[in-house]
């Protein structure tokens, strides 16, 4: 299998000589806007649910208008125990608004929940693996882009093919290997694993970006007395910065969203947020407002990045196969 690269395509500017008429544009626009709004309903709905009280969240018919409350967020970050009315009466008056909120449901706060820890794990593992993948990926991409490497195409294909394995298939031996090495349920283990998944992506994407930097820049620098490494550091890296940033955000989003490995290889210490969110149980089943609150907080960074990243989206999501 040889690599596939498709021709240049621009996302931002394209003008048509055979200009569509104003009416066609309006109709096309309306359909696209209608589709977008419909497709955003689930996301909006889950954000709203985070601000509902538990009874409102499972009300029939579903409530569009409701009294907003932070109960979901309080429940997300705390564990609570139900107490007898006598015990509740014997307590001193509540000190904070969230104490008051929980007590109004006949419960007291027993302590913080593990959501904060899981979120932290997601951040540490996400940023750790992204940093490593970018570091290794930039070096390898530069070498593939500039030097004669024996079996270059085979190596590049080998790097790509590591993405074709179902995560579960790799998870079996990794589970065994980590058990031997004492890396089970460890942050380091997860960082290494996500780095390996991300690095293949990073090499492909970054090679495309570095290919576009003219070789003449480095050659001029080397004539001026820079060594190859200095030219790489002071000339190529600054030029490739946008590409590196775009690649980093994609790696971060991948690690952030990953679920299969996290589910199978972590259980406590190193568990990330995605396998934890469905475990947020209230009295009598899933605590939907808390799940929705956890989901909202988890999706928020990705939504922000998507808007910031929109110009680089295409290359990222096509593994660099479609050039900008």
């Amino acid at each position: 299998m040889s690599s596939v690269t498709l021709p240049a395509a621009r996302l931002t500017t394209a003008r048509s000589i055979v200009e569509p008429s104003a009416a066609t544009k309006r109709i096309a626009g309306s359909i696209v806007i209608l589709y977008t709004l419909l497709s955003l309903i689930p996301i909006v709905w889950i954000v709203l649910t985070g601000f509902k009280s538990p009874p409102d969240a499972i009300a029939y018919p579903p409530k569009v208008v409701f009294e907003p409350t932070l109960e979901g967020y309080v429940n997300l970050f705390t564990t609570r125990t139900r107490q007898t009315p006598e015990y509740m009466a014997s307590l001193p008056p509540p000190e904070t608004w969230y104490d008051e909120l929980v007590r109004s449901r006949g419960m007291v706060i027993a302590g913080p929940s593990r959501y904060g820890d899981r979120y932290m794990n997601s951040l540490v593992i996400g940023f750790g693996s992204t940093f490593l993948a970018i570091f290794l990926g930039t070096l390898a991409a530069y070498a593939f882009s500039r030097f004669k490497v024996p079996l270059k195409d085979d190596l590049l294909f080998f790097i790509l093919s590591t993405r074709m394995m179902p995560p579960i298939a790799v998870a079996i031996p990794i589970y065994l290997m980590y058990r031997e090495l004492g890396l089970s349920d460890s942050i380091l283990g997860m960082i290494l694993l996500y780095t390996a998944v991300n690095v293949s992506f990073a090499v492909w994407l970054l090679k495309g970006f570095i290919d576009e930097i003219p070789r003449e820049y480095e050659e001029a620098a080397m004539i001026d007395g820079y060594t190859r490494l200095q030219a790489f550091r002071r000339v190529v890296l600054p030029q490739a910065l946008t590409g590196i940033a775009a690649t980093a955000i994609f790696c971060l989003i991948f690690s952030w969203n990953e679920y299969a490995f996290a589910l199978l290889l972590t259980s406590g210490e190193a568990q990330t947020a995605p396998p934890f969110i469905p475990l947020i149980i209230g009295e009598g089943g899933l605590d939907w407002p808390a799940v929705a609150a956890g989901t909202t907080l988890f999706l928020l960074p990705v939504l922000i990045f998507t808007v910031l990243l929109r110009r680089h989206l295409l290359r990222g999501i096509t593994f660099g196969a479609v050039r900008k």
């Binding site: 544009k25 029939y60 590591t162 031996p173 690095v199 969203n257 299969a260």
Partner: protein, 300 residues
């Protein structure tokens, strides 16, 4: 060589090349290739990873024979194929249509193009969880809206044997149509305008223009989107697990879920390794053939 001016100063190109590439290759060997070889090795044994002390027997090809002659496995493969084909088919139709519409350059199209992408950037597992909420039998907004229109009052999606396979298709289409749209859009923007002008001069109808100019240029892009989605959907695990866990019964049990059950619940490590190898060979082989075909289409 190009860098004669700098030779002598610093490391040689060869050394730098190897210095830069080796760490990546080593990491991939350790975390991808070594496990793959181990999986292949385990697939010929009856190893069970929850019983580390037990003696491991070499069973030859028996695991493979058992899998390939197991009707349940074939049923799971059919479930997977149903999911892959329908979700990709719908995504191609919807995504291409949306790309054609967005390419009309209506006012504000850039903003809407960004908003339309949001579903595909989210965590599939978390998406699965919140769709189970939308699919709640009574309070779920999706079911409520469907009930409102069909008036049956007892509509369920993920609890229904016939509809559950469509629920995973629906969520996948919701999530990934923007992806196909984006790649098609790249294809549309790659069409040189003079082709349309020439077609216009020749008096070609809009339909003919679409058929002879638009489609041939977009096709390689579309095929690439299909390749990426097919690889992803074939190994789909997180969204489906979060949404249905394979149920009701085993109506939405795609191959990865079976694999997870055999490996991490039944602890039949050897058996599930054989299944993993089979899945890998299928994806790898199909992707190879497909890319050869894709390159042929591109050259035409």
């Amino acid at each position: 060589m190009r860098a004669t001016a700098a030779s002598g100063a610093g490391l040689s190109q060869r050394t730098i090349a190897w210095l830069f590439i080796t760490p990546t290759i080593l990491l991939l060997l350790a975390i991808n290739i070594f496990p793959l070889i181990w999986t292949i090795d385990l697939s010929f044994t009856d190893y069970r990873s929850n019983q580390p002390g037990r003696e491991i027997k070499d069973v030859g090809l028996r695991n493979y024979e058992r899998i390939l002659s197991d009707e349940d496995i074939w049923a799971r493969m059919q479930t997977t194929a149903h999911f892959v084909c329908w979700s990709i088919g719908l995504q191609v139709v919807l995504g291409f249509a949306l790309a054609l519409l967005i390419n009309r350059q209506f006012k504000g199209h850039a903003t809407w193009t960004t908003l339309i992408l949001l579903p595909m950037m989210l965590s599939p597992a978390v998406v699965g969880i919140f769709w189970t909420y939308l699919f709640q039998p009574q309070a779920g907004i999706f079911n409520y809206i469907v009930n409102f229109f069909i008036g049956a009052g007892d509509f369920t999606m993920i609890g229904d044997v016939d509809l559950a396979p469509w629920a995973i298709v629906l969520v996948d289409v919701w999530m990934w149509t923007p992806y196909v749209m984006l790649i098609c859009l790249a294809g549309l923007r790659a069409i040189p305008q003079y082709l349309y002008e020439a077609a216009e001069v020749d008096g070609a109808s809009r339909l003919r223009q679409f058929w002879h100019v638009t489609l041939p240029t977009v096709l390689p892009f579309l095929m690439l989107a299909v390749l990426f989605r097919a690889i992803e959907n074939f190994k789909m695990f997180d969204m489906v697990v979060a949404l249905t866990s394979g149920g009701p019964g085993s109506t939405t049990e795609v191959a990865s879920i079976t694999l997870k059950r055999e490996a991490f619940e039944s602890w039949k490590t050897g058996y599930s390794s054989a299944f993993a190898v089979i899945l890998f060979v299928v994806v790898f082989g199909a992707a190879n053939v497909y890319v050869k075909f894709l390159n042929k289409v591109k050259q035409r």
